[in-house]
């Protein structure tokens, strides 16, 4: 009963998306499209292909870059927070929690002027930097959780068995924290992936990620194309979920927003 309810409620919103993306002619008040067709998908992949696929790559590029930097910088910080108690730890926690709760809108508007002056506005790097303000703290919190259940004695054991520091990192630390690294990277990726407003403000329309294109399409009123782009927009995130379900042993990706 409940299971069926969950499935219906979760999947229902996708029904109109799929139907509209596959309709060529569909007028109110018909419940089914008068004519099914692939016009929208042709538009997405050929007519406006360079633009929309370009947006897809732009989105992937930004999210992947943000995700890698977040994990790379977030992991050491998470390690320190998870393994040690030190003075000022609470302050560090507050500094990191603020970007998670304060909407990116405020930061993006503030940074915009500065980025114009130093030439980062409208650039790929500028968008990556503004996404980092909230993706990095998220990654740190995930790694904090991971390292609070991590026993560094494994590393000491490896060292005493004769492994040099870099091998300990590659052969011991990374494999032990791998699931956490994947989750942290996934969080950062998804957060950056679904970001609209801060990309718009800093990118100024020049960094045309998928959400920017989708918003523009919603304004133009072409429902079938907007539906098709929406599906393109959710697909990678779904793949990420499948991936995590497959490789993280069905563990739920608790904490993703």
């Amino acid at each position: 009963m409940v299971a069926a309810g969950v499935i219906v409620v979760v999947l229902l919103p996708f029904v109109p998306l799929v139907m509209w993306s596959l309709s060529d002619r569909w007028f109110y008040p018909e419940l089914w499209p008068r004519q099914w067709g692939l016009r929208a998908w042709q538009y997405v992949f050929s007519t406006a292909g360079t633009q929309i696929l370009g947006g897809l790559w732009q989105s992937v590029g930004v999210a992947a870059t943000v995700s890698c930097i977040s994990v790379g910088i977030g992991m050491p910080a998470g390690r320190a927070l998870g393994l040690f108690d030190f003075r000022g730890k609470d302050l560090v926690a507050v500094v990191l929690i603020l970007p998670v709760i304060v909407p990116p809108l405020c930061v993006a508007m503030g940074l915009h002027l500065w980025f114009i002056i130093i030439g980062l506005a409208g650039s790929f790097l500028g968008v990556v930097l503004v996404h980092l303000t909230f993706c990095l703290p998220y990654a740190v919190f995930v790694m904090w959780g991971i390292f609070s259940n991590y026993d560094p004695a494994y590393e000491e054991q490896a060292r005493s068995l004769g492994a040099p520091a870099w091998k300990v990192l590659v052969r011991v630390t990374l494999p032990l924290t791998f699931p956490g690294i994947i989750v942290a990277g996934l969080f950062a990726f998804l957060l950056s992936w679904s970001q609209y407003l801060s990309t718009l403000i800093i990118g100024g329309g020049k960094v045309a990620t998928l959400p920017i294109l989708l918003f523009a399409l919603m304004g133009s009123g072409d429902r079938p194309v907007a539906a098709a782009v929406s599906i393109v927009f959710v697909a990678p995130a779904m793949l990420a979920l499948l991936f995590s379900a497959r490789y993280l042993g069905g563990r739920s990706i608790t904490g993703v927003r």
């Binding site: 018909e30 419940l31 809108l105 927003r257």
Partner: protein, 305 residues
């Protein structure tokens, strides 16, 4: 994340401090990025909202942008609307989530398909669910067509306004759909980790079903429930896409208004937009601080974990 802090302390406490140099090397990069970009963004925003805008030649320190926003008669409507949306969606999502968490724990773990489907909204961007709901709930949307077919209405005009409406039903629906799995999974991990064992203890100590819920389950999940709710509240209070697509055009929520002002052709409106953004940030931070104080008081009285 935040729920693991108690646990984290345990691990950290047993270990000697390796010295500020080691810790500094680990923490400083992340801290520097956040301080520079996030802190810098806020400070620069504050500076601009206080009247320093070299592009327009305005370089006078002034409070008039804040004053302008606060004295705008629409401000309190917007604040009220934003608060209504954030509070209602958070509370609704929290109630549904607690119920869902209880149902899911009683559901066999083997029903993985349900768990998988349940996680889908986590990965769907807010923008996409907003678009989907436009197609679903608009006067010419799928629901309206279905209702007409079933003879419940006789034209699109008699279909109730579900998006761009004054009760923000579309916006609330999008948020609840999106946030229920988030809150549920946060609660579920605690419930599975310790909650189940504590419930067994409660059973042998003669607590009834109802008593177990109020005296064991709620106090156990409270910290993660509160943390999740705070995050959801903060998000829904400061988010732009959903109210922009599904909300009414007047009054606007604060974030929509902030962006509208910021992107106005009139550059003079820009500092007001930033001022609204900072007011949003201030409200959220105040809410978080208040919640922390309340939690501390509750913990002091032994009501929660």
């Amino acid at each position: 994340m935040t729920t693991d802090t108690a646990n984290a302390r345990g691990n950290a406490r047993t270990r000697p401090n390796p010295g500020l140099l080691v810790i500094g090397r680990l923490v400083v990069p992340a801290l520097a990025v956040v301080t520079l970009l996030f802190g810098g963004g806020l400070v620069l925003g504050l500076v601009q909202s206080l009247g320093y805008l070299p592009a327009t030649g305005m370089q006078m320190f002034t409070l008039r942008h804040f004053a302008g926003v606060l004295s705008d008669p629409d401000f309190f409507y917007s604040l009220g609307l934003t608060f209504y949306i954030a509070a209602t969606s958070t509370a609704t999502a929290a109630l549904i989530s607690v119920a869902m968490a209880l149902v899911l724990t009683s559901l066999a773990r083997r029903q993985r398909v349900v768990h998988f489907i349940f996680q889908i909204p986590l990965t769907v961007p807010h923008l996409v669910i907003a678009v989907a709901l436009v197609f679903m709930m608009a006067p010419t949307g799928l629901l309206s067509r279905a209702a007409l077919k079933l003879g419940m209405i006789n034209s699109s005009a008699s279909f109730p306004l579900l998006i761009n409406d004054s009760w923000a039903i579309g916006t609330l629906t999008a948020y609840v759909w999106k946030e229920v799995p988030f809150i549920t999974l946060m609660i579920l991990s605690v419930l599975r980790r310790t909650g189940m064992e504590l419930l067994e203890v409660g059973k042998t100590l003669k607590a009834s079903r109802r008593q177990r819920f109020f005296h064991i389950t709620l106090p156990t999940i409270f910290p993660s429930l509160a943390a999740a709710c705070l995050i959801v509240f903060a998000y829904t209070f400061g988010a732009f896409e959903v109210p922009f697509l599904l909300g009414q055009t007047y009054p606007m929520t604060l974030p929509v208004w902030a962006y509208k002002s910021y992107s106005d052709v009139d550059l003079m409106a820009r500092p007001e937009g930033i001022a609204i953004g900072l007011i949003i940030a201030a409200v959220i931070i105040a809410a978080v601080v208040a919640a922390q104080l309340l939690t501390k008081a509750a913990r002091h009285r032994g009501l929660v974990l």
